[in-house]
Symmetry: C2
Subunit: 446 residues, 2 copies
C-alpha cells in the first residue's frame, strides 16, 4: 500500500465515524475548512502551499481491493460498511487560496464541501499535506527575505522527516523563492533546478585534495564547485589557485568553492582574498553548514563575501517552529452552520471568505474574514478549484505559484518582511460572521 495515495493513511477515528454515519444513514453535505489557529512566535505570516498535492489526492481517492480486504479483517468494521467503501470517490467541491499566497491566523486556506463521509475521511491526509508544505514554505520565505537575492539551495533531504518530507520540502522551498534543491527526485518530479557537487567523503577517499579536485573538474568541467574545508580551508583555497591553470587547460572553469564549517564569515573573507589574488575573481563562494535565515542575515550584515547558501536541516524540519497549530474543522453540516466551543479551541462557523485590501503603494494593508456570501471591499482570496470531484483547470505550473509567491512577498507590509516578531497584520472579523457565531452558540447551547 502506497502511503502517499492509500486512504488507509488516515486516523482510525475517521473510519469508525464513517461506519457510524453509514449505520445511522447520515449522508448530508458537510463543509470543512483548514486554517491555522495561531502564528508560531517566530513567524509574521504564513505562505499557503500544498494545494496541488491535496487536489491530486482527492482526485484519485479510492480503496483498492487489498485495502478493503484488510479493513474487513481488522476487527473494527462490519462487512456492509466495508463493502460501501468500494464505491467511495471524492465527488465534492474544493475552494482554496492559491499556493504562494501569504495568510494569517483563522483565515481558511482550503474548504471542502462534500457528503460527510468523504469530507471526514480525507481530513488526516489533507491536514498532513497542507501542514507540511505550508510549514516549510513559511520558513523558507524567511531565508528568501533575508538573503536579498543571493542564491539559495535546499540541502535538507537527509534530515527531513522521511521520503515525502524531503521531496515536498524541496517543492515548498522552491515555491517560496529558493533557486533550487539538492534533492534529485525533486528535479525529476517537479522540474526544480538541481545543485550539488561533492562531499567531504569524496575528498577523503582520494590520496590528496589536489587529486580529488582534479578528478572532479575532469568529470564535471561545467559544474566545478570544490569543497575546500575537509582539512584546512585556506590551504585548500591556495591549492585551488595553483590548480586553476591546469583545470582551465582541461576545459574546466572553477565556478565556486564551498565552505561547510567553522566561522563562515571569517573563512569567506580570507578565501575571497586568496581567490582574488590568484586571479579567480569570477569564482564564487558558496556556504553551507547549520544555516538558517538568522545566520544568513548575520553573515550578510557582516559583509561576508558569500554568493550563495545551502540551507539544510533547520529549514527542512522548520527547526524553530516544527509544527503549525492548524485544524480542519466542520463549519457546516446539512445546511446548518456549526462551531466547536471546546476551551481555547473555539472556531468560526459557516463557509468563509477572506478579502484583502492593498494600499496606494501596492502593499497589503488589511484582511477581512467574513462569510462566503458577504461581499466586502478588497480582493477575495479563496477561489474554486474542484466541483463535483473534478478540477476546474489543469494543475497550476509550479513556476506560476512561485511567481505569485515572489509577487506577494514583495507586497507584504515592510515590517512583516523582517525576521523579528512584529505587531500582527490586521485581520478584521466582519459583523456578519460575528453574528452567525452568536446565533450558532444560542442554537447549540444544550
Amino acid at each position: 500500500m502506497n502511503p502517499q495515495s492509500s486512504p488507509l493513511l488516515t486516523d482510525l477515528y475517521q473510519l469508525t465515524m464513517l461506519q457510524a454515519y453509514f449505520d445511522g444513514g447520515m449522508d448530508g453535505v458537510a463543509v470543512f475548512e483548514f486554517f491555522v489557529r495561531d502564528l508560531p512566535p517566530q513567524r509574521n505570516f504564513m505562505l499557503a502551499a500544498g494545494l496541488e498535492q491535496a487536489l491530486h489526492f482527492l482526485e484519485h481517492l479510492h480503496f483498492t481491493a487489498g485495502e478493503l480486504d484488510w479493513l474487513a479483517d481488522c476487527g473494527h468494521f462490519h462487512q456492509d460498511f466495508v463493502d460501501s467503501l468500494a464505491a467511495l470517490r471524492f465527488t465534492g467541491e474544493v475552494h482554496a487560496m492559491p499556493e504562494g499566497t501569504p495568510f494569517f491566523p483563522n483565515e481558511p486556506i482550503l474548504r471542502i464541501t462534500a457528503p460527510i463521509a468523504q469530507a471526514q475521511l480525507v481530513e488526516s491526509r489533507i491536514v498532513n499535506l497542507l501542514h507540511l508544505q505550508t510549514l516549510i514554505a513559511s520558513k523558507a520565505a524567511r531565508s528568501v527575505l533575508a538573503a536579498r537575492g543571493k542564491l539559495l539551495v535546499d540541502f535538507g533531504l537527509r534530515r527531513a522527516h522521511g521520503a515525502e518530507a524531503g521531496l515536498l520540502a524541496a517543492r515548498a522551498c522552491y515555491l517560496a523563492g529558493f533557486s533550487g534543491s539538492a534533492t534529485v527526485l525533486a528535479g525529476a518530479e517537479f522540474g526544480i533546478p538541481l545543485y550539488g557537487t561533492m562531499a567531504h567523503s569524496y575528498v577523503q577517499a582520494h590520496a590528496s585534495e589536489k587529486t580529488a579536485f582534479e578528478h572532479f573538474a575532469r568529470s564535471h568541467p561545467t559544474n566545478t564547485v570544490l569543497l575546500i574545508d575537509t582539512y584546512n580551508t585556506e590551504a585548500a583555497a591556495e591549492k585551488v589557485v595553483k590548480l586553476a591553470p591546469r583545470l582551465k587547460q582541461m576545459g574546466a572553469r572553477i565556478k565556486a568553492v564551498r565552505l561547510d564549517s567553522g566561522s563562515l564569515s571569517y573563512h569567506a573573507i580570507k578565501v575571497r582574498r586568496i581567490l582574488d589574488r590568484g586571479g579567480l575573481k569570477e569564482t564564487g563562494i558558496f556556504c553551507s553548514g547549520n544555516l538558517d535565515e538568522y545566520a544568513i542575515r548575520q553573515l550578510l550584515a557582516e559583509g561576508a563575501p558569500i554568493d550563495g547558501f545551502g540551507v539544510g536541516t533547520r529549514l527542512d524540519v522548520s527547526a524553530d517552529a516544527p509544527y503549525l497549530d492548524c485544524a480542519y474543522k466542520l463549519v457546516e453540516y446539512a445546511g446548518k452552520p456549526r462551531r466547536k466551543r471546546s476551551e481555547g479551541k473555539a472556531t468560526w462557523p459557516g463557509r468563509k471568505q477572506v478579502y484583502r485590501s492593498y494600499g496606494t503603494d501596492g502593499r497589503m494593508e488589511r484582511d477581512i474574514l467574513t462569510l462566503d456570501n458577504d461581499a466586502q471591499p478588497g480582493t477575495p482570496l479563496i477561489q474554486p478549484y474542484m466541483l463535483a470531484g473534478k478540477r476546474l483547470a489543469a494543475a497550476e505550473p509550479l513556476e506560476e505559484s512561485r511567481r505569485r509567491a515572489a509577487d506577494e512577498l514583495a507586497r507584504l507590509p515592510e515590517r512583516l518582511q523582517r525576521l523579528g516578531t512584529q505587531s500582527p497584520y490586521p485581520v478584521a472579523v466582519a459583523t456578519a460572521l460575528g453574528r452567525m457565531a452568536k446565533a450558532v452558540d444560542r442554537a447549540t447551547r444544550q
Copy 2:
C-alpha cells in the same frame, strides 16, 4: 517514481561524485558509519530505530529504466556513466545495533561496507530513514518512561511531516513502548494495534451530543469511547451517565470517555467523580490535546485520574528537538582509515565497535568505543545484518524489537530514566582508537 524506493531520492552530489569515481576508475571498498554527534539538550539517550527500513531499501536498490532516462536527459551526467548505473545493486555489508538499543553520541549504529559508488549513493536515504525513526523513538521513549504503564497512543499523523513520517512515526512509537497508534496504515503495514473512535466534527454533525453518542455506541458496541468536550465537558459526562443504561440494553459498554481540551487534570477529576457516582466505575478516562512527556508527568504527579494518553504533534515532530545532529561518515577507503578534520566536525576513523558493561543490578554502567578488531570487556553492540548484499536472517519481527526496547529502557541507569537533563552516560574511547586517529592525522597532514 516512488519516493520511498527511488534511488533518485538522494542529493545531486552523490551522483556527481559517482560520475567522478566512474571517470577516475575509483572503485575501492569504502566504509561509512552512521552516528549522532551530540545529544539534543532535552535528551539523555537515544533509541536506535529504522534499521529494518534501511535494510529493505538496500536490498531493493536499483534504477528503473525511467529513472535512467531522466538522468541521461537532465544535463548533469554523460551517457556512459548513466549506462553503468543500470547494473548497480547493493552488494556490500551492513553491521548495526539492533533496533531498540539505547545509544550515545559518537557510537555508530550502522556501518556500510561496499564499493564506494554504492556506499556513497545511499547516504542521503539511509540518513533520512535512520534519523527519522531514531528521532521519534528517542522522543517516544520519554513518554513511555513518564507514563509509568498507562496506555499511550500515537495521534500524530496529521502534523507529522508527510506520509512516510506519519507511518514510520507510528512504528517508532510502538517500538519505543507505545500501546498503539491511530494511523490505520500502520496497522495494515506493521500490525500495530489501532485506537480511535470519534472527533468533535462527529458530535457537531449531530443535532445533539446525546444522539451522537447513541449512534456511535450502536455502530461500535465493543469500542465505545465517547468524546465529551465538544461543548461542556461535565455536562457531557452527566449525559453519558444518563445514557449508560440504554446503551447497555443495546449491548454497548462505555469503555472510556475522552477529554481533549482545557485543564485535563481539573476535568478528569470532575468527570471521574461524575462517572463513579453514576455507576460507571469501569469507564476509563482517556486524554489528548497538546500532550508530551512533560505534560504526562505533570498530570500523573497531580494525581489526575487518567487511564490513557493520546500523544500527537509534539511527539511526531519531536517538537523540542526536531532533528538530531547525525552524520554518515567515511571511516575507511581502500583499506586505509580516514577521518574528517573540519572545524568542530572531526570524526573517529576506522571500523568501530561499542562494548557495553552492566552493573550487578543489571543496569547499564558504561560503554567503550573502539576499533572493530580491538576486543574490550562487555557486550559488543554492533552485529552483522547483511553480507554480499543479502540479509543474514529474515527481518526481525517488530514485536521482538519492541521487547528489546522495553528490556533495555529498564536497564538504563536510573537517572537517565528521568526527563530532566542528567550528567552524561560514560562512553570511553579505547586507546587503540585514539592512537589510530592520531596516525590518520599524521598521514593526511598536507
